[in-house]
Amino acid sequence: MDLNKEQLLAFYKNMVTIRAFESKAVELFAAGQIPGFVHLYLGEEAIATGVCACLEKTDYIASTHRGHGHLISKGGNLNFMMAELFGRTTGYCKGKGGSMHIADVDLGILGANGIVGAGMPIATGAAFACKYKENGAVAVAFFGDGASDRATFHESLNLASIWKLPVVFVCENNGWAISNAQKDHQNVTDISDRATAYGIPGVSVDGNDVIAVFEAADAAIERARRGDGPTLVECKSWRWRGHFEGDPGAYKDPKDQEEWLAKDPIPRLEKNLLKLKYATKAELDKITAAAQEEIEAAIKFAGESPQPDPQEVLTDVYAD
């Protein structure tokens, strides 16, 4: 399918926004301005961008511990996201969640998640609700190669298949589960092969090619909307950073790291845009600069936002 200029430029803007957000997060964490654990999406920007471009506001996603890219791509507000990383009252979760739990239910974002694999049952349930309400919406579960070894992967894909739910399982195979390389935690090369076990389609794409990701996701999501059930989409990519900030990633072979850095999805789309004459280098640099300014503004917003009142610890446990 042909993607038009607006679409491709929107991909570009989204990817450089994620890149800018995560690059700043590196500095802010190092500077001690972000507490707790931070898992960055650097290098994987094309996946969330391509997938979420197929989704409406009314569709759902379930994210992971490495969730910033998913949230930005689903329309998350950068100020509220950054403020949450800072633990401020203006954050998405009023400072109660942090990076691992950012959510915006109104945007269909059912949360980052600190439990590997926990998003799959949640997305399965959201998809069930879409089918039950017959509202034409779908749900997407993002999860990693490591998560594909968990209980919840098996039970979710099997149930989604049996119930023919409008859900797409997007496996972000970045080659690593913390220090454990994919070949050391599972004996499949293409995780999409696991779809066989559930009688659903499985497809693997280059996760650093935003257009390939979009096309695969679009087909799977359209299939889901048609009522033909779930699909497993594997996007192969690479985790640029350590597992979380603070992990130097010493277990990575520098050669592999180099190779993958060279496959940076952003210059790749950039070349494409220039070739198609959809934009000049100067115009693209302007988009990038604008994104960086947005992030600076978000940091300012977060930094100037109030700290929570200690009494707040007691609220929001139960709805009444």
């Binding site: 979760c93 109660k96 969640g97 959510a103 949640i122 959201a126 149930l159 609220t315 446990v317 139960y318």
Partner: protein
């Protein structure tokens, strides 16, 4: 009022809410045509059809986990786990997902879901099909825990649990399923967090729930003949807990016996004893006592299971030991 069994009352509660609210649905293993392992859901499939009463694979994690997503997306799932003993297969989905979603999201999510599951010994089902583990659930902020001990409470608490906007563990007792009783018809809700004085007395307070309530009521009749007038407080919901009702009764009697079917160590009786030792200490004119099974798994042999379980006789002994 209508005579029905505890099982029928649970079903009636589900039916009333499913008729009232199209967003309520039921999912679990063999809950559809088969009517559930204990027949509790019999007829619901015929009445509400395959869209609202669904069989699942043997996949507890996604039975509870999908309910979290469905609830966050606006439905009101009733997820059945065939035996409470199987909750170990889906604890993460309950305690890290369902229970914490609202808080982690800064109060911006609602997770109205009920996990319905039977507990309890007495049928020779052995160590993995006879347990009571309610104190686990009471240790999870964000979850409410309901344990009806009569048919009327079974219906009223079911309706309240379904209407509640939070995850609720609704734990029914296998031994109570055939027990009959008078049950109000129609939309009868019992508020969560309100204890019920099942027997008014003046000499000693027994706090108990679920199946043990019935045993305590029987023991109390016998004790009355022997001149001991027992007050029985049934909290009905362990979280939220009606502390005032417990403290008020102990303030009246000065003596507290807690009877439950969980093993003793870290059973919910410990929490109730602690509550009274903290906030009702001056009421007490005797040490608190707990009557529970021993700290062992549940044995298969009916003789051993009988030795394991609190009985009317043991309750009578435990009460008489106060005097």
């Amino acid at each position: 009022m209508k005579q029905m069994t505890y099982a029928e009352a649970i079903r009636d509660g589900m039916r009333v809410e499913m008729q009232r609210d199209p967003n309520v649905y039921l999912a679990g293993e063999d809950v559809a045509q088969f009517g559930g392992c204990f027949g509790v859901t019999a007829g619901l499939y015929d009445e509400f059809g395959p869209k609202r009463v669904m069989n699942t694979p043997i996949s507890e994690a996604v039975i509870v986990g999908h309910a979290v997503g469905a609830a966050a997306a606006g439905l009101r799932p009733i997820a059945e786990i065939m035996f409470v003993d199987f909750m170990g297969c889906c604890m993460d989905e309950l305690f890290n997902q369902a229970a914490k979603m609202r808080y982690m999201f800064g109060g911006k999510a609602r997770v109205p879901m009920v996990v319905r599951t039977p507990c309890g010994a007495g049928m020779g089902a052995a160590a993995q099909h006879s347990q009571c583990i309610e104190s686990w659930f009471t240790h999870i902020p964000g979850v409410k825990t309901v344990m009806p001990g009569t048919p009327a409470d079974a219906k009223g608490l079911m309706i309240a649990a379904i209407r509640d906007d939070n995850p609720v563990m609704y734990i029914e007792h296998k031994q109570l399923l055939p027990v009959p009783g008078d049950v109000p018809e129609g939309e009868y809700a019992v508020p969560l967090g309100k204890a019920d004085i099942k027997r008014v007395g003046s000499d000693i307070t027994i706090v108990t729930w679920s199946w043990m309530l019935q045993k305590c009521l029987a023991a109390a009749e016998e004790l009355a003949k022997r001149g001991i007038n027992v007050e029985i407080v049934d909290p009905r919901t362990l979280v939220p807990l009606d502390k005032d009702a417990i403290l008020k009764s102990v303030g009246k009697t000065g003596k507290l016996l807690i009877v439950h079917e969980e093993v003793k160590t870290s059973g919910f009786g410990g929490e109730i004893a602690a509550l009274v030792a903290e906030e009702g200490f001056d009421y007490l004119d005797a040490p608190i006592a707990r009557l529970t099974p021993p700290d062992t798994p549940i044995p298969f042999s009916p003789i051993l299971e009988g030795a394991y379980l609190p009985s009317e006789e043991k309750i009578i002994k435990a009460v008489e030991a106060f005097f």
